[in-house]
Symmetry: C2
Subunit: 458 residues, 2 copies
């Protein structure tokens, strides 16, 4: 049976696959640092050459920033688009690294063997699992079981400024039946996961203006309206006593979790106490009557991410400031319309303004939530593939944050995404001594081989 | 009659008096700037010499900062202590001055003649009104009608760090029946005023801590407690819908305005709309059912003077911060105990903390309000003296801010203060092009002569 031979080849080829990953990890492709622009390009070229070596029609597409790597290979089955990113985070503080961030090394640790380097997990190690799966499949069978487009970005760690323009201009060539995105993690050490829903994000900055100028509270305190008082009053009304958001219409369109997902999530045995204990907390602070995973994945939120007004330096100044500002964000779930919510939030704030105060709003993004159509057969294929590689049954989980590329694929190309990744919580992505478990690399590669074969059969 | 001859001498001596004031104004005695320490001392020496020239037993008393000028002259009547300060504010931005800040000049303006220089009004011009009154009295009568101690400080514009230690150590020699403080203003162009009550100030900084570290709202939003949410909820509860402060016991001991003062204040014709209109406001924001002057002078307040938490830079960051901080101040009136209120405020905040949150408090001053005993005959003497010099009847008014020295005189020396000053709202103290009206200087000098004579007769 050809899948067995592909998996056997993956097993046998691990040392060579790790050598290739080390080659890629040696290139310091820090996208945010202009001094590394040449290195970023070098990583793109390395990947283009690797794809071309496997027989992909591979090209670099220049952008105003770093290039996109695109490789196509025809196949008989459905068309899948694989997305990963080859750029990495900066490495400072360098003094906290045990060795050079771009001098990758295999290490034994109490929890297994790891490969340690910047980008090992995020995202070079992860993206190479897919390429290695293709390589082994091609070596064993001479072809891929489905049509595959590989699309690798070099600006993910610096805000992806070129991504949307690129997708709008040249996205047609990337349009596939499904996107496969490998930039997420396992649910736990033993339980792999496929992220099927991601929250969206609406960001709003509100600035309340009271008096024309800052006032002295000795001269004006008591008679003059203080915009901090107005702002705190408004923000304090964001949630009621049960944690529900009070902006009118906020929950319009928000659906209850399906019984299937509710059962799957309950089966994950999420330990709220342990999760919160890591950051010094003990009790879930969200809506009463909701589970911790609902609070994180399927319930919308309102949070104040920043607030400032008046004198905030050392000591004290009895000022009544002219202005006070807050940055407010809403994590959104499927069914919520960001633009309608923005209007509703602004109207709600305006309705609470006392005489003599005005408000100015600045928008900071409005991305809807993503909820994948898990009836697409690839989701069950992927669930079985991951379940076969890890001890626990794979779960369909949610994500509390957004993975913008999944939203763009949906919005611009009309394409759902299947998000499967093999990172662990202790991978230290974005931090010193980033690592990727060799077991993640190995089982991840095997999982993609299973998925490709399964999708083709599907 | 000797008062008439004293007043006549004051009138005749105006040109020489202005020359002396110009001499003093030429000394750039900026107390906060170490580069000007020698100038500050020079101003002190100038005043000591001027006092000694009149026959005062005058000395400089060194402090760790700038020296105190102290002059004593015996007399038959009660003992009064005159307080003023000879240091001035910095002058930047220098580019906004029409001429050198220490190059005083007499100017004609549409609203009368003025002397323009840094310190003209605050406080060199004001303190010289008293010295000129003494000079004219001495010249006409050969003696002062009461025992007078002159006490001039050189650190008022830089927080008076040496004042309290000095008063504790050497204050006995300053102890008098009443202090006369000349560092305030007229109520209006035509209505002079004596400030008989000043609000105190309690400053508290509160820092709420939630999670141990800043969190990403994608990963933790919805389940983790956000300290900004806790802080805004607490601050929003500082006032009820009618503007009353909700800290338990806040109004304990607060008295209603006496009918006499209520009538006097009502007679001032305070124009709330004009007062607020100058700073872009239109409606009093204090307690419902109170007049604007009550809000400013006789009612206690709670204000948030500063607030900060989370990300406050340009753009947006979806952080759930570990901490949020606010600086809160209370303007206090007679009858309120700052230390009891501090305890009550802290307990009130603590009682509102949800699980997983802690609070830290930092004290920023606790000064009680001052309310002078206006039954002391000098108050009526002063009211008549000022009424004789300006078109309108002089009023006993309140002050919204604190004049710390009045509190220290009361607390350390057990001495009430009579605050009479002749500044105008448009004097631009602390700002470029500071000025003092020659009419303020002239009538202020005459008023002090009347007061000294009146107190002696009283």
């Amino acid at each position: 049976m050809s899948l067995d031979s592909i998996l056997a080849r993956i097993d046998a080829d691990q040392p060579a696959a790790l050598d290739r990953l080390c080659d890629l990890l040696r290139i310091p492709s820090i996208s945010t640092d202009p001094a590394h622009a040449g290195d970023v390009r070098r990583a793109a070229e390395w990947l283009r050459d690797d794809l071309a070596g496997m027989g992909f029609a591979a090209e670099l597409h220049d952008t105003p920033g770093h290039p996109m790597v695109v490789g196509h290979m025809d196949g008989p089955g459905p068309h899948v688009l694989f997305y990963g990113h080859y750029d990495v985070q900066p490495v400072d503080p360098l003094s906290l690294w045990d060795r050079g961030p771009f001098d990758p090394q295999l290490q034994e640790t109490p929890r297994g063997r790891v490969i340690r380097a910047r980008g090992a997990a995020d995202d070079k190690g992860q993206l190479m699992t897919f390429l290695e799966a293709c390589r082994a499949t091609l070596a064993e069978t001479g072809a891929l079981p489905c049509k595959v487009t590989v699309f690798l970005e070099g600006e993910e760690e610096s805000g992806s400024p070129s991504l949307v323009p690129y997708l709008r201009e040249r996205g047609d060539a990337l349009k596939a039946d499904l996107a496969l995105i490998c930039d997420t993690g396992l649910f736990s050490e033993s339980v792999p996961a496929i992220v099927t829903q991601l929250r969206g994000l609406l960001g709003e900055e509100i600035t309340i203006t009271g008096p024309r100028i800052d006032l002295h509270s000795g001269m004006y305190g008591g008679i003059a309206m203080n915009p901090i008082r107005v702002l705190t009053k408004i923000l304090a009304g964001l949630h009621d006593e049960t944690g529900r958001v009070q902006v009118p219409g906020f929950y319009d369109g928000v659906e209850e979790l399906s019984p299937e997902l509710a059962a799957q999530w309950a089966g994950l045995g999420f330990d709220e106490g342990a999760f919160l204990g890591e950051v010094g907390l003990s009790r879930p602070a969200g809506e009463e009557g909701r589970t911790g995973l609902e609070m994180l994945w399927s319930r919308p939120t309102a949070e104040v991410n920043g607030i400032t007004g008046g004198y905030t330096g050392a000591g004290f100044k009895t000022v009544l400031p002219a202005q006070a500002t807050a940055k407010v964000s809403f994590r959104l779930v499927a069914g919520q319309d960001p633009m309608r919510l923005r209007d509703s939030f602004r109207a709600w704030v305006e309705a609470q303004l006392p005489p003599d105060c005005s408000v100015a709003f600045a928008p900071h993004g409005a991305a809807p939530a993503s909820r994948m159509d898990i009836s697409h057969p690839a989701f069950e294929v992927a669930r079985q593939a991951l379940s076969a590689e890890w001890p626990g049954e794979a779960a369909f989980i949610g994500g509390g944050g957004s993975i913008p590329v999944a939203g763009y694929f949906k919005e611009i190309l009309g394409m759902d995404s299947l998000l499967a990744g093999f990172g662990k919580d202790d991978d230290a992505i974005h931090s010193p001594n980033e690592k990727y478990d060799l077991s993640s690399f190995h089982h991840g590669t095997r999982a993609w081989a299973r998925i490709l074969t399964g999708i083709a059969a599907g």
